[in-house]
Structures are given as structure tokens and as C-alpha cells.
Symmetry: C2
């Protein structure tokens, strides 16, 4: 007789290490003789009863998953509304879980996903269905409440700091006759964590990036241009890191790429660097180059942080443990116990404290002039990019990433008419 | 009595490994007891008599230079015209070389720089000044004639192939409810080498990148959109790599970022991916993400190719050897002697055969439909991204890059009134 199955799903934007979490979840459950199903494309796969039997994957594939970026089972941007508004969907979800004897549901995502996991657990309770729901943290935005940091962030932060340090050496070499100003656009809708991490690239006041623009501070064009001019006069060139989410004092995004909104109601951003480059060129006359790394910054497993990679696995392992212990509606969070030496542990936090919250950078992390980070921010951020996560390279000069078989489980229910 | 000095200068866009060449030049010259001066900001430093005494740098710094991206002595975009048109500048150059007893001039750059080195050598001969001029190849564009490949290209190629492979895993995970099409913009004004190298990211026809747009083929929007639609229908998503230099049949660049031209008369490009993204969204309705890596692709020493890194050092070492042997107006070039196993050697080529030529991709490297590379291209490109160039990482999670002291040599001449 079945002891029950564990359902794992990935949600929202993927990261360089979300599969490391998946790998840890599957390995830990296998060790406990628990069968793991994965929903294809996140919660949508659960609604559609489109489930993957991870027992068809070899141990080698599951191990390789730990160093493969992207989302191995597919992710989704699909937000369930309140229990009242989306009741039919929640009930369908429960029906699918029941049909496949799912006793443990692990949802790996950001704050929207924590909210979904919480609601599923509430409905299961209402129906008297024995289900343990555990949220598993993931987001390069680092904006989840309670947890000290979010798996995925440290690697994107390392990518950003390394890239900015490298590009700055390029700009410094070209500045005399060519590019004077370089602008790097970092992801981050409402919280500037990733842009802030670029600050780790420099150690002294004149080191790049000399200017960081954060969504936590209103964008003031005159002040920005004056600062660029001042840096170029002193250093000879200037590197700017701008968060995609910066906005003016009246709340308007500095660059809104067409205004299309995704199904979460988020506007699709991008184009801040391009906009700023145009302003610098027009007002100050400097030659400007700019970069929009976009998905490269969150999928760059080749430069992933070891700290981040270890934490991504730790939350996966802990999530399975919490689930099997029946700790319902919780999320394994990272608790920092010491900055130097850097020490951390995993604890369980109630999902209700994580769901739908957004953690912005504390005011004490932002320099008074608004264009950089403080020593306090540096002490917080520094350990997160430490170490290089192991990665096997092929003889062809490319990382050895795995593609899973993703064998579908036979359906037991009628098609979903979502 | 002085045995004469060797002057080294960097020119044009810098790369992840041009400093590896510089490191090899200095180390080789030191071994031969030859003093090396470096011109600050390329040929401009020579004209201004702004020279750096590299003997002030420690052996450790010169060794660290081998893994530091950017241009350690500064580069420039400054093209000298013909001997007739810029006679005064060439004569000033000779005056500076003579004042500092420069007997060997090594100019590290692309085809414009090869032309400058050639002209300096012609003028020296005319004046009876004993000078040996050697061009040293460098360009991520891979468009120099004669040499099998150009130092700098292999690392940018590896960055591009790795980034595209990683981003494709991200897109594949998101495609069901979000991004269907991802567009990566690669550098390359007139030759599509770098965009072509992205083709190494995939092995099978449906692997990313499913579409590569090269400047060697006219951009045909209808055919491009039809291909995107076809790939999305079959694979579920599509990754496009577009060379910044693609143009329509009538020769117009697909995206011209404002039309500003640099001092070489090159238009400043950038914006192809953004333009294509807009067209795909408008015509096909897919959600699109795009990336413009810009300087990140040429400064990413953290993911440099070992082949490229070794070749960058080999041309530096050979350049010193050729110079000391008095082989005037030559450039060390890479000669491939075997594809599998990959074997190469260095030979000397006359600068006249390199200067002002531009090597495009052979027709046999481009797939018949124009959207991908052939097996022949793959056999050529594959060895160039092989191996991971060694890189020391700091305990802070960042690569250990060196900043030289760059101590100026005392001036002996009146200021240049350029």
C-alpha cells in the first residue's frame, strides 16, 4: 500500500539554483523512500493533472540537477486568487492531490507561491484531507520576508558584482577616447537588492560602480546627472548600476517597456539603462554604453555562489523534513547567526508571515546620498556571493547541464476545463 | 649603455585576454633583459609621450595581468590616416620613439592597428631609424585576415555559447505561461562570428539557439517571423541570437542606435534585439525577453576559454621574438594544423596582408536557410571555446584582478600640440 506521495512544483521566475533545491528535495525524499511527483509548469501542471514521475530519473540525473540552471520541470506565472474567488480551482487542485495520494505538497517560489501553498493547506483542512503544505523559498529578488536571504539571489548577486567589476575594467581602458559612462541594468521590481549587490564590485569610493540607483529612493534626474558629471571629472569614467524598478517621486517607473502586464498584474519592465544612457548622452555629451543582462543574470549557473548553492539545497532538504514531520503551512527560512565568520541555519517560519509580503532594503543599507550602499549592507551582502559552486565542464568547453526525461504519470481524472 | 627599449600599446576595443598578451610580452622581454615601456591609451600615449615604465611592476603583478580583463595600460579608438594626410603625427611618433630609444614597437589591436604599425614602420625606414614594428592580433570580432582566429574571440564566443545555453533553460521553463521568445544580441559589426559561436550552445536542430541572424545574410523580416512562429509551434519556445550588424538587403542596419559615429567612422550600434523583440511581439503576439550583454561579453574573463587564453599569450611571446629577430612589419598569426585533435602553431604574416582587411564568415559556414551554422562552422568554432582559463578567486567571492601602478616615464620632449 502506498505511503503517499510528495508533490513538488516550481513557480515564478527561475534561478541558477532552483534545480539545486529540486535535486535536494528528490534526493532527501528518495532516502526516506517517499515517491516524488513533480507538477509540469508549476501549479498549472497540478491543475491539469500533468504530473511527472521523478522516480524514472537516474540518481546521476538528480545529482546533475544540482548544477543545472533553469526550472527542470517547468515553472509558471499563474497566480491563484482568494479561496472565494478561485474556489473551483482550489477544489480541483485538491482533487488531483487526492487522486495521486499526495500527502505532502512543496511549492518552490516567491511570495505569491507562499500564498498559494497557504491557501491549499487551508482548503485541505476545511475538507479534512490530510495534507502538509510547505513553501520553499526562491527568488533572485531577495524580497521574501522572514528569511535572511532567498536562494537564487546570491548567485544573481555574484553574477552582477563580477560582471560590473569586469565591465568597469573595460570602460576604464576605453574612457580616454570612447566610452565614458557604462550603465548596467539589474533586475528588481520594487526592491533594489540585486543592484545593491553590484556595490560589492568596488572597495573604495572611486571604484566602480560609482553610482547605484535603487527603487527604494526616488529617481531625481538632476541629482543623477550632476553625480555622473562629478564622477567623470574625478575618475575619468563612471559605471552606473540601475535597478529596473527605479521610479520618480510621483511613482512612475523611469522606463516602462510598453506597459504590458503579466498575469500577476506586474508591468513588464526593462529599458531603464537605455533611457538613462540617452539622458546622459543628451545632457552631458558623454559616449555611453549600457547592458541589459536580462535572463542571463538569473540563469548564470557558471558563476553561481557556493553559499547560495548550499542554501538552495539546504532549504530543499529541510522542506522534505518539515513535510514528513507534518509541519503544515511553513517555509524553511535561512537564519543568519553571525556575519563574520558567516554562519547560518535553517528554521521553519509560518507561511502566513511570508505570503504576499515584500522585503525592501532597510534604510540603513543605503548611503545618505542615495547612490550607494553602506558598510552595513556590505556586511550583509558579502557572504552571499562567497565561494564558487562546483560545476562540471564538458570537453566541448560548455557546462554539463542535464535534461530530465520528465515522464508523465498516467491521468486518473477527467480533463480540467480551466 | 641602453640596448634599446620595446614599446607596447593596446588599441581598439579591449578583450578578456588582451592583458594576457601584455603579460606575455612583458615577461618574455624581461627574460631577454629588454625594458618594456607601455603607451598609456594606445597610440595616443605614444603621441603625447605619455609612457609607462613597466619595470616598476612586480613579477607577481605581471603574472596577475594574465588573468585580468580590460586593457591595463588604457586603449584608444584613434585612427591615424595615410602617411600623407597625417604626416605630422607620424613624425611626432617617430620623434617620441627616438627620444626613448624605442627599437621595437608592438601594437596590439585589430586591422586598423595593423595599418598604423605598418605605416610607422614605413616612415621609420624612410628616416633611416632602426625600428622593428610588430602587430599583435586582438579582436573579439574574429575578423582579421590571415590568422585562423583572433585572441579575444574564443573567450567572447565561450561567454556567448554558455550564456545562450543557460538562458535557453530559463526560457524553456517559463514558456508555458510567460516568455516564448528570447533574443540575445551579439557584438559584430560586419562579420557574424560571435553570433555564429552561439550555435555551439545546441547540438540538435531543436536545441537553442534555433535562429541565428548574421550580417553575412540580408535580414528578411517575413522569413524571420515565419521561422520564429514555426519554432515556437514545434518546440514551444524560441531562442534567437542576432548579430548587432545585421542589415536589410539594401544595406541599412536593422537597428541604428541614434546614428552616432566614432572616430573610425563606425556607427555606434546596439538595439537590434530590442527592435526584433518589438516586431515579434507586435506581429506574433508572443511575450519576448531580450538581452544586450554589451561590454559584458568581451570582458567576461571569469568564463574565458583556455584555448583563447593560451593563444593570447602565445602571440605576445612570439611578437617579442619576432621583434628581437628584426622581423619588421609582421604579425604573429595562429595557423591551424588540425581540427581533431585541435592543433595550432604561430607563424609570422606580413602586416600588409592583415591591415584594413576584414574576414567575413565563409558561405560554407552558414546553413542554407541562413538561420544557423553548418557542421563545417562547428568544426572550426568548437576548439576555440574549449577549456576553462585558470582564474584565482578571492575569499570575497570575486576574481582577483590586478591594477597596475602605471608609473609614468619622465618626458624628454615638448608637449604635443595634436
Amino acid at each position: 500500500m502506498s505511503r503517499g506521495t510528495l508533490l513538488y512544483a516550481q513557480s515564478g521566475g527561475v534561478t541558477a539554483v532552483i534545480n539545486a533545491t529540486a535535486s535536494a528535495v528528490i534526493a532527501e525524499a528518495r532516502a526516506k523512500k517517499i515517491k516524488v511527483l513533480a507538477a509540469r509548469n508549476g501549479i498549472l501542471g497540478a491543475l491539469r493533472e500533468d504530473l511527472i514521475d521523478t522516480s524514472k530519473e537516474s540518481a546521476a540525473s538528480i545529482a546533475a540537477l544540482a548544477h543545472t540552471p533553469g526550472g527542470a520541470f517547468g515553472s509558471c506565472r499563474y497566480k491563484l486568487k482568494s479561496l472565494e474567488a478561485d474556489r473551483a480551482k482550489y477544489e480541483r487542485l485538491l482533487e488531483v492531490l487526492r487522486a495521486h495520494d499526495v500527502r505532502w505538497f512543496l511549492y518552490n517560489g516567491g511570495n505569491d507561491s507562499a500564498d498559494t501553498a497557504l491557501k491549499v493547506s487551508q482548503l485541505a483542512e476545511e475538507f479534512g484531507y490530510p495534507l502538509t503544505c510547505v513553501g520553499v523559498p526562491k527568488t533572485i529578488d531577495n524580497d521574501l520576508a522572514v528569511t535572511d536571504t532567498c536562494p537564487g539571489f546570491g548567485s544573481a548577486a555574484k553574477y552582477t558584482a563580477v560582471s560590473v567589476r569586469e565591465a568597469a575594467l573595460d570602460v576604464a581602458a576605453m574612457a580616454e577616447t570612447s566610452t565614458r559612462v557604462f550603465i548596467h541594468e539589474a533586475m528588481g521590481r520594487h526592491a533594489g537588492w540585486l543592484a545593491a549587490a553590484a556595490g560589492l564590485a568596488g572597495e573604495n569610493p572611486d571604484d566602480a560602480p560609482q553610482i547605484i540607483l535603487l527603487p527604494e529612493r526616488a529617481y531625481d534626474e538632476a541629482a543623477f546627472l550632476a553625480k555622473v558629471k562629478q564622477v567623470v571629472a574625478k575618475v575619468g569614467w563612471c559605471v552606473v548600476v540601475a535597478s529596473e524598478g527605479i521610479h520618480t517621486a510621483d511613482g512612475r517607473f523611469v522606463a516602462d517597456a510598453g506597459g504590458a502586464a503579466d498575469s500577476f498584474g506586474h508591468t513588464q519592465l526593462g529599458g531603464v539603462a537605455s533611457y538613462l544612457a540617452g539622458r546622459v548622452k543628451a545632457e552631458l555629451g558623454y559616449k555611453v554604453h549600457w547592458t541589459l543582462p536580462d535572463y542571463l543574470q538569473r540563469s548564470a549557473r557558471h558563476v553561481a555562489s557556493k553559499t547560495d548553492w548550499e542554501q538552495a539545497q539546504a532549504v530543499g532538504k529541510a522542506a522534505v523534513r518539515f513535510a514528513l514531520e507534518g509541519r503544515n503551512s511553513v517555509m524553511p527560512v535561512i537564519v543568519r547567526t553571525s556575519d563574520a565568520p558567516y554562519r547560518w541555519k535553517i528554521e521553519a517560519a509560518p507561511l502566513s508571515k511570508v505570503a504576499n509580503h515584500e522585503k525592501k532594503m532597510p534604510a540603513g543599507f543605503i548611503r545618505k546620498d542615495g547612490f550607494g550602499i553602506t558598510g552595513k549592507a556590505r556586511r550583509y551582502l558579502q557572504p552571499l556571493i562567497r565561494g564558487e559552486a562546483p560545476l562540471p565542464w564538458g570537453r566541448d568547453g560548455l557546462p554539463k547541464y542535464v535534461t530530465l526525461k520528465n515522464v508523465a504519470v498516467a491521468k486518473k481524472l477527467p480533463d480540467w476545463e480551466g
